[in-house]
């Protein structure tokens, strides 16, 4: 029997490297999940920070890298998530169960904001997002019911044994990071991803090809707000105290920018790498707040100018590596044979 006629090319969406990534990620996650049993507190505290970094970078990449929305006001949603957690937890709900609720609150808050902000683009969108974060912060300081300028402590945590509390926060942070990375990966791999990238590279051309630009930008914005809200809730759980100047700190936005730029915008791998680099910097320099930020800002500027596609972009351009394939690979069958 003659073999069926072969198409001249084969389109692949997965690769051996991707299987290897998935496999090793599963192993790494299993090891990380066991950390509370073997090492405990000293390792948990820094790792929680690393998880929040990975989640923040991945979400900012969804905005800036995939959808062309350079928001410097994502600290608004860190704060919204933290205060969302407080509001739900103060009604007696278990604070760990509240992370999802805080994320939803943050997403709901983002809905009216998006109606205003998404009219703008580029630098104007960026500065307007700063204004929104400033409004959130001032609004909270003017509300005595959520502690005003002094802040509030997260209710409902007192009943927990400190060891258990830290372990639960740790696992919650891990889950949030994994959900963000896998969620963004799946989202970008689906049709949505093609659309977002079209919108990011040229909204007018995308619209003329039938991409619903407004809806894509809205979806990306809401998804990022939702996830960033969950990160805010985690930060509140870890610090156990919510203070307006710290949860709305623009430092979060600076860090997001750094991680995505240095790691590689518009890839799944890049933000994770950027998060790990920032984590290393933060662990060595965090005692020295101002110099830490000078360095973070400086490296971000240098990265934009010298390696515009980030470290991972540089690597994948050069060697064609892809651990999380989101695109389509076309191979010539005759060459393969």
């Amino acid at each position: 029997m003659a073999p069926p006629e072969l198409e001249p090319v084969r389109v692949r969406r997965w690769s051996l490297a991707a299987s290897a990534t998935a496999g090793s990620a599963a192993v790494v996650l299993a090891v990380l999940a066991a950390v509370p049993y073997f090492i405990g507190g000293p390792a948990e505290q820094p790792l929680i920070i690393a998880f929040t970094f990975i989640a923040m970078a991945t979400l900012w990449n969804l905005l800036a890298g995939f959808s062309g929305l350079t928001s410097f006001g994502q600290n608004a949603y860190i704060g919204a998530g933290a205060y969302g957690l407080y509001l739900v937890a103060s009604h007696g709900v278990n604070p760990f169960a509240d992370i999802a609720a805080a994320a939803v609150i943050s997403g709901l808050v983002a809905l009216p904001v998006s109606a205003l902000l998404l009219r703008l683009s580029g630098g104007y969108f960026a500065v307007a997002s700063l204004v929104v974060a400033a409004v959130f912060q001032i609004a909270v300081t003017l509300a005595p019911s959520v502690g005003g300028t002094t802040g509030v402590s997260v209710p409902g945590l007192g009943g927990y044994d400190p060891v258990l509390r830290e372990a639960l926060t740790y696992w919650a942070a891990m889950i949030v990071a994994v959900v963000c990375v896998v969620g963004v990966f799946l989202l970008v791999r689906a049709g949505f991803g093609m659309d977002t990238r079209a919108v990011a590279s040229d909204p007018v051309a995308a619209a003329s090809l039938g991409v619903r630009v407004g809806r894509i930008r809205l979806l990306a914005y809401l998804a990022a707000a939702l996830g960033t809200g969950a990160v805010g809730a985690l930060i509140a759980l870890q610090t156990m105290f919510i203070e307006p100047t710290s949860v709305f700190s623009i430092q979060y936005s600076v860090e997001m920018l750094f991680m995505v730029l240095v790691g590689g915008m518009g890839t799944i791998e890049g933000p994770i790498i950027g998060a790990l680099i920032l984590f290393a910097l933060q662990q060595t320099l965090s005692q020295n707040g101002a110099w830490y930020l000078v360095l973070v800002g400086g490296v971000a500027v240098a990265a934009t100018l010298t390696v515009p596609r980030g470290l991972w972009g540089f690597v994948s351009d050069r060697w064609g590596w892809s651990l999380f394939p989101v695109g389509y690979q076309v191979r010539d069958r005759r060459e393969e044979a």
Binding site: T70, G122, G123, Y124, V127, L257, A300, T304, L305
Partner: protein, 296 residues
């Protein structure tokens, strides 16, 4: 009469916001650069003036002839060394680069000058007031700031509309490729525009420091106010920017008269309101929402 006084004081203060905003507007209109470090550059100007005026033991006004040229050179250097390279990556890259620069400047100032609030030696004019009738008292400093702002805006407007240099700038703002084709040398022009933008920012920074106080983090607030003035007034319109600045100033002072805690919030809400109902600003510059059209 308190209200009349507040409104007038707000108008005068709005002039300063317009002064800082005009550089932002100019840089965007001509170079398509949204300079997120604009406010921080203004604060740098204020610190330079502080250092010089303390060092020489003179009121801050006497060191302006040193500060402004220095700011101009800094602006040119910034354009040639940094922004020109960033522009090759498109508007996106300039936004990222200037934001990174802003973070660096703020934190370097924090390291070098601490977070303490600073005040200027403003000399005799700093404490003098202008009395109109028996009720209205206006600090001379505010009057001087407003007049300076109007002077700078008119000067820019005149230069842009009447000189050959201004014609080239408008040509670039309109259509950079065509301007290049007919022989406009874009590089030096961009550098001069960046120099003017930073010099006006530094001048505004000195006035902001003179009417109140400043610290390394004042820059972000200044950027936001400048940006709001530009958007409220309508992108690309210098006089619109003045109106936008005045709207901000009046809102801030009048609401501050009722409750100081709500003053800045009210300004931001005014901005968001304008964005919601008139996204092109109060004085949109028509189809080609570009600086050039209104300036010309």
């Amino acid at each position: 009469m308190t209200w009349v006084n507040a409104v007038i004081q707000g108008v005068l203060q709005g002039g300063i916001y317009a002064l800082i905003a005009c550089g932002l507007s100019l840089a965007f209109g001509v170079m398509r650069v949204v300079n997120l470090a604009h406010g921080d550059l203004a604060v740098c100007g204020a610190y330079l003036a502080l250092v010089l005026s303390t060092g020489l033991g003179v009121p801050v006004w006497y060191v302006l002839p040193l500060v402004l040229p220095a700011a101009f050179v800094v602006g040119m250097g910034l354009q040639v060394l940094l922004l020109r390279r960033a522009l090759r990556g498109g508007e996106f890259a300039t936004v990222l680069v200037t934001f990174g620069l802003s973070v660096m400047i703020e934190n370097l100032l924090l390291v070098g000058a601490t977070a303490n609030d600073r005040v200027f030696n403003t000399g005799a004019i700093g404490v003098a007031s202008l009395h109109i009738g028996s009720q209205i008292t206006l600090p001379w400093l505010f009057v001087a700031a407003f007049l300076t702002a109007c002077g700078v805006l008119s000067g820019l407007q005149l230069v842009l509309s009447r000189t050959s240099w201004g014609r080239k700038v408008r040509a670039i703002a309109d259509d950079i490729d065509t301007a290049r084709l007919v022989g406009v040398r874009v590089g030096p022009l961009f550098a001069t525009v960046a120099g003017i933008a930073v010099a006006t920012a530094a001048l505004a920074g000195v006035f902001i420091g003179a009417i109140g106080n400043f610290n390394p983090l004042t820059g972000t607030t200044m950027l936001i106010f400048a940006f709001e003035a530009v958007v409220i007034g309508g992108l690309g319109s210098l006089w619109g920017t003045l109106v936008g600045g005045i709207a901000l100033g009046v809102t801030q002072v009048v609401v501050g008269e009722i409750n100081q805690a709500y003053a800045v919030l009210a300004v931001h809400l005014l901005f968001l309101l304008v964005l919601a109902i008139r996204p092109a600003g109060l004085f949109p510059s028509g189809q080609q929402a570009r600086v050039a059209q209104v300036l010309g």
